[in-house]
């Protein structure tokens, strides 16, 4: 029985010692080294657990020993159990950050002047260190993930809007704009030449107009002079007389033409009669035909008729040879 009690006691005590000593050891407590507690204030501590390591220049010099929100709720007070044989920087501050991507957080004593960009919490008590907590890596990755999602959305929309057809249209638009630009340039060049020519023409026309104006001025002066000298009145009077003469001449010509027409009608009727007589003569009818039975008379008569016909035709064609008109 006595031996049993000893063995049971050994097992129980050994297990308790292992559990307690192991826990203290894994939490970083060392019996051989003294510690002093330093406090720091943070606006937030992220996922820093109680007992996390505290490092100085990468060397573990202590452990987090207590995390509590301030009574007014504006800050978090963190106790740091540090080894007494470590000298902290004069402007020491505490930086809380993830030590890896696997959720283990730690605190590090840093020099505040070496980290001017960090917005350390300002404690009112000078004995308390200022602290700053670097945003959680998961928060940063979540933000990056959100940005990536937005970029993906934009890319999808661009992909939907910018199809092959759109690209082809854009290419055509660019080509068209190029062609239009070339044409505008050519048109501008051509217009510049035309404008230059137009300006030259205008210049020439202006000179001519000036000359015409001068001539017109002179002409008007001459006209004014003539008007003032009565020459025009004389010309107008002569013109009137000439017009009256022309009117009389026209009347005479109209009358002559009427008489000529009557003569021509008479000549026609005569010729008709001569033709009738000729047909009677050819047929041997009538007195004249019998008289002309003699061939001599007939030949002479026929000759006379031929000459008469020629005369009439010449008269038709050249009436002026036979009719003399005189105006003055």
């Amino acid at each position: 029985m006595r031996r049993n009690e000893v063995w049971v006691g050994v097992v129980i005590l050994l297990s308790v010692v292992i559990a307690v000593a192991g826990s203290f050891w894994l939490r970083g407590y060392r019996l051989t080294r003294g510690t002093t507690t330093v406090e720091a204030l943070f606006s937030g501590v992220g996922q820093l657990p109680d007992g996390a390591s505290v490092k100085l220049r990468g060397v573990t010099i202590g452990r987090v020993n207590g995390i509590a929100v301030e009574p007014d709720g504006t800050a978090v007070r963190v106790g740091l159990a540090l080894n007494t044989d470590v000298q902290l920087p004069a402007d020491a501050a505490v930086l809380i950050a993830p030590e890896s991507m696997f959720g283990d957080w730690g605190a590090e004593i840093v020099s505040r002047s070496a980290n001017p960009r960090l917005d350390f919490f300002e404690p009112s008590d000078p004995g308390v260190l200022p602290g700053f907590s670097i945003p959680d890596l998961s928060r940063l990755t979540a933000t990056a993930d959100q940005i990536a999602e937005n970029l993906a959305t934009i890319t999808d929309r661009v992909e939907v809007a910018f199809t092959q057809e759109t690209a082809e249209n854009l290419r055509l638009v660019i080509e068209n704009v190029g062609r239009v630009s070339e044409q505008v340039a050519e048109l501008a060049d051509a217009q510049i030449g035309a404008v230059e020519e137009l300006v030259e023409n205008v210049r020439t026309s202006t000179g001519e107009v000036q000359e015409a104006a001068a001539l017109a001025t002179r002409t008007l002066a001459e006209v004014e002079r003539l008007l003032s000298g009565g020459v025009v009145d004389s010309i107008v009077g002569d013109t009137r007389v000439t017009a009256a003469e022309f009117r009389r001449l026209a009347t005479d010509l109209r009358e002559t033409t009427t008489g000529l027409s009557t003569t021509l009608q008479f000549a026609d009727s005569t010729l008709v009669r001569f033709e009738r007589i000729g047909r009677e003569l050819e047929t041997g009818e009538g007195t004249l035909a019998q008289l002309l039975a003699d061939s001599t008379v007939a030949v002479q008569t026929q000759s006379a008729l031929m000459q008469l016909t020629l005369l009439l035709e010449d008269f038709r064609e050249n009436p002026g040879r036979y009719v003399r008109l005189s105006i003055f």
Partner: protein
Amino acid sequence: MAGKTLDFVGATGRAALRFAATVGEWGVLMQDTIRGLRAVRIWGKLVFEQMMRIGVASVPIALFIAAFTGIVLALQASYTFTGAVPVYLVGSLVGKTMIIELGPVLTGLALAGRVGASIAAELGTMRVTEQIDALETMAYDPAAYLVLPRVLAGAVMFPAVTLLASALGIVAGWLTAIQLLDMSTPEFVRGLETFFVPFDVVFSVIKSFSFGLAVTSLGCFFGFRTRGGAAGVGRAATSAVVASSMVILVFDAFWAAVLL
């Protein structure tokens, strides 16, 4: 068809009632056991003997299981943690897993087979040979005399054995890491420290305490209700091991859900 359905429903009902009756009988036995706490003179001198049999005698098998569990954990962790995962997490995995899960559960299951079956067989034999009846005849409280020392011994020794087993498992994992893997002791220790919190040890003690209570009380319960001679003793031992193992796993999930 309707008859078969009724038979199935009836069988289910009978099983439920039988289970409820069994739980009730276990409750009555525990009530008697708690009542027997007053009889310190009866159980006080028996506790250390039971601690020796239940706890100290179980240390070798518990340490053996834990040592090889730690070795396998370290090897499998190094096999799994490749690429971007830092190697020091091998220490984290070995420590965390041994302390809060594999140490208590594997020790509990091992002791359920060893201790639970032993208690059920011992008490079952006493039942079928009417030794328990004789104790009652002599005005001895069987609960205080037989059950309470074993339950107390299990409640105390299970956590102790579990802590030793967990520690040895971590040591085995550490030795494996520095001997078989390309790791250093500081790396392994860093992994151990990184995710360790003292509550892990408390959690392990609470779990193993409940496992000790379950294994010993169920061993006593199935031994006390043994019927039918030697065959009944065998059935009692089997039932005790099966029920203890199931209760251990149920408690494991329960404590994880409640305490973590």
